[in-house]
Symmetry: D2
Subunit: 361 residues, 4 copies
């Protein structure tokens, strides 16, 4: 079979570079071009020394304005799929039927994640430039939407907090084990989630020895989580989501709190029943590990891989359950899941190019 030909817009951000890294090791993919606004003309290895020896690809100019004026169609002709690792709004501004006739799009931004354009515009404070394409876009949380992913032309790759938060809670929301209106998600992120721009707040000296919340009651990943978990519960609800920045390179850890419901007969859910619900939902998933009782998910145990580690603990004193999930924000939280989706979209084995054992220590 011919290799899948790939283009990457925004290849010098952390997510874009991680896609490139994965695809250079992927048996069935070939990266044809990579773009950058700031470093065009240079080899990627001049910015990312890890790539030295592995590729001599040069960064082409992928300035959004020039792409919009038609350049994107020429580039699309050269490849089977374009990954857009771009700021909010950029992918929507490029979207057209002409583009989709030439290539598939896997968008790393939020442009096509939210089905309700009003929600998008309220949380992102920008006008959506391609609302007509929202209905056909597939939300690429692969484990939940695998069938739609297969035929997607526009794949909206989920956010990092989102993927972790949703996968951790989904089976229990769907089974009605927890009361979704009580759901509170407290999450930690490594610093690579803040991207590769030179901001004082993300300097080593500012972040080291620091732990703090940010975007409290206002983080943009909130509506994504609400959208998908509302699908699971069958009715819309709101939740509280609080992200924190902690001093590590990679990793998302979600700790989620909810009140347990009672069963139809008024009795309480047992640990075994809840474990069975998770097993049924994820038992066959290649990238989800339901941990043994008592073992808490740890970001380092999934680092560098597409895995999600999940577990839970009942708190009978309060009638609550505590759910925990961990993933690598640049892998299952971004590039890894994007490649997983690419595999599904092109009929490749879903785990192709993603079968890494986590590095420890």
């Amino acid at each position: 079979m011919a290799k899948v030909k790939v283009g990457i817009i925004g290849a010098t951000g952390y997510a874009g570079a991680e896609i490139l890294r994965l695809l250079l090791m992927h048996r069935d993919a070939e990266v044809v071009w990579i773009g950058s606004r700031s470093f065009q003309g240079k080899e990627i290895a001049s910015e990312y020394p890890n790539f030295r020896r592995f590729t001599d690809l040069q960064l082409i100019d992928d300035d959004t304005d020039r792409l919009k004026e038609g350049r994107i169609l020429e580039l699309a002709d050269e490849v089977d799929v374009v990954f857009t690792a771009t700021p909010q709004g950029a992918c929507a501004s490029l979207m057209s039927e002409e583009l989709l006739k030439r290539t598939k799009i896997i968008d790393m931004s939020a442009d096509f994640r939210l089905k309700d354009v009003a929600v998008y515009e309220r949380w992102y404070k920008i006008t959506h430039l391609a609302p007509d394409f929202l209905p056909e876009a597939v939300y690429g949380l692969t484990e939940l939407h695998r069938e739609e992913v297969k035929n997607a032309r526009i794949l909206a790759n989920p956010g990092c907090y989102t993927t972790c938060s949703i996968l951790t809670a989904y089976p229990l929301v769907k089974a009605g084990v927890i009361d979704p209106s009580t759901l509170i998600i407290d999450a930690l992120s490594g610093v690579s989630g803040a991207g590769r721009s030179g901001k004082v707040a993300n300097l080593f000296s500012e972040v080291n020895e620091s732990a703090k919340a940010y975007g409290v009651a206002s983080h943009r990943h909130t509506p994504e989580i609400e959208q998908e978990l509302s699908l699971a519960s069958g009715e819309a609800f709101t939740l509280t989501f609080t992200p924190h920045l902690v001093p590590m390179n990679r990793g998302i850890l979600a700790t989620e709190y909810a009140a347990l419901t009672k069963k139809a007969d008024g009795s309480l859910w047992t640990e075994a029943e809840i474990r069975a619900i998770y097993e049924e939902a994820y038992g066959n998933e290649a990238f989800i590990r339901l941990l043994p009782a008592g073992v808490c998910p740890d970001t380092r145990a999934v680092e560098g891989t597409n895995l999600v580690d999940i577990n839970f603990k009942l708190d009978p004193r309060t009638g609550r359950i505590i759910l925990m999930g961990a993933l690598d924000n640049l892998m299952k939280g971004a590039a890894g899941q994007a490649v997983q989706n690419m595999n599904v979209m092109f009929g490749l084995p879903e785990t192709e190019g993603l079968e890494f054992i986590p590095v420890m220590p």
Copy 2:
């Protein structure tokens, strides 16, 4: 005035060494003896090179068994106050009227924190050896119990998570702004909180790049928080408390979630009203900083000091409030608060020896 004479049992643990560090810089205190089970006969500087030049105190043998056989009374005769930075159970095993006639005790363990001996024995799984002294012991969260601290003979110095969690929520629980039965506390700790014993789990290579929960629904600081906040609310309640370990040396960050109540007239609490409640509670406190709206507490902004930074955010979408507090686990979370209590107990200015500006970066 004569200096307060001090002895420290357990001076080579992190909390004990921090007490020593603070007292060596304290104008009105003099450390007379320091003890260690493992390093007796050595200078403390051989284990803690930071002390070189500042003290040539040698560590005496403070093995609990030998102390119990009477040695503690001799040591008590030499000082005005003994800090016991010892494992659970040790301080209770030493307690006696004879001891308290000779010296005051500031206990860093949990032995005298919980008023209900049954609660202590359930959470700590050991028999309390001095339950008769529980009634007179003062829970040394200074800001809440300042008057009792003044006359305490046994000062039970609070835990690190506890101090942060309680101070952050106390005024709102007391004012009835939040429904205590909905309270969930999600907390992060630096690794020094795990102590200075050579455990594989706390090796640099194991902790770096790691974020994970532990002690889920079972951490021993839970009943302390419940005891004090139940005092504030006027009725007993349970809460959910989840600690996490993150890769930094020092710091506790507590993020707390609760449903807002309605006011007597059925209207909602405003941000200004809630801020006023905090101001009234803490406006005159030397060690509590209520941050401006929108600024999230950050562990590094209090590192090395006895400060607690507190703030909150309303989440009108869900009817909840998110509370945030940060402190240094070895300072306000242990040694700093112990010295603050010593100051109060001996009639010294409460901030004496604790007036540091946090180091940044």
Copy 3:
């Protein structure tokens, strides 16, 4: 071709676990048994959660005393090669002709690295129990001894500092560009190099924010470096080697200083000539990257891989040259090179199972 069957003694140390991780992803190897003194009977995943899902191998008892009493021969019968990731002296104590008839040995300790038994005993302070096998043992710095590695029965896998230090200097020593008697090696190591035993000195809280030298003028990797570089120079010489511990998980960085010689005609070596010497030595090596002028090797640019990054800078003001090399101490500095050697010993492609692109960030 049948897969190479492998046993690992000491699989729960960092090096042993890294060998396992690599071999579980290796197309042509099959791990038959793994051993541990402390965790026998458990699944490796209970100690190393990264392995969950990837193997259910249980740790067998590999206590050295029991192995010596004959158990090692039974175990050897099951495999083609045994990796001994054991303390100094253990592998030598197991060595015998009977053993080597059954299996090949790749030893991660220093037991068979030094050709001169007196040097071994002086630096390691233990009696060598199998000196008769020293002559046939091959020093497994693959790039330097590839031909001997092919037929080795006992492969002495080099140390981490050693591999980095030697490879960085070797071509220039051999070409006579530097005066070996002036060679000074200053090296930095991540903390995983200190192993996985629960020592206070390696706790996160002790190592974070710490940089210090250790083993000054006495580190045991010194004679290995001297042995190999003396081979290159053609005459014995001593050098100064100073290791330092810095707060990161993985990585060795060597900075080496030497006086430049003059060429036969009295003129000075040019940068281009020196670069050509490196290119000739390493131009075809899969795992060595000679960096472009002006780019300094960085440990993070090789992390998780078997690569060594090398560069140099002339210092005409002083007549010296500064050499720099970086590698991952658990990969090219331990497990990666061990697998590279296994590949060579069994006629497999040298890069098999080692073709990773470094992770960034």
Copy 4:
């Protein structure tokens, strides 16, 4: 006595903010104004949350161009001393006799450190705008030039690498124990030394898990070290200096290598003799700790203080000596030494405001 009145230009850089932090805790100093180019009009606490509660000083505009047009003289009239924590060239551009009639200057930049203007211009690639003031400027390595510091009008505060490198080697160079022409200095720095500007290279995600050299054979602190050590040796010489960046907030560690000379009678220097030389040089210095034999200086053991820890090790195999020094780059390497110099310049006790015990962990 009236307090020393102070102004700080560049108060929002790490060094400037550290000067402010120290002086706010200083009994005999009063900060009258603080300046910033980027944040004028704001309270310093909005950028440095550690200052909240401790000062409500607002940042004035200290744009160099406006200062040059005369504003600096008005500001100078208000204070006894101005600290210039500014980029290279700024302080020289402001220098005038009118200025020095109004105030003393403690300059944190290199403008007045090098006595030879040609050396300055060669290493810094800028024209020196006030060469006439070079002769009177005092190089503020306090321990070496204490008498001149007392009467200085222009105090050139040394660099961080410089202070550590010079103090570590000075007594041995002066005593002729080492051959200065063989001196090689290998140094490590925490990331705060790179300043507080938003550069990608200093992001947490770029620096964490990274160790690398930079400025090899070309770092600007080299000529400072050569100038001062040449004063000690009595003749000019060049040396090799290699700085490295390692993932920690603060700290400089210098490891220095040199060949030992022989004594006049041809015999070798003993460890006791060398120790005596250090003791004689530094035995009475408040901020220098000569460590016991076998204890290596560690950056964390001096963090947050003005201390320098020094030790050495003989390497009889090679005839060399290894010298080691550690300090906090923002304290003795910048702000701490600046305050130490201020104390000396104004007749205050030299240790005033600098008597901290290092924080551990």
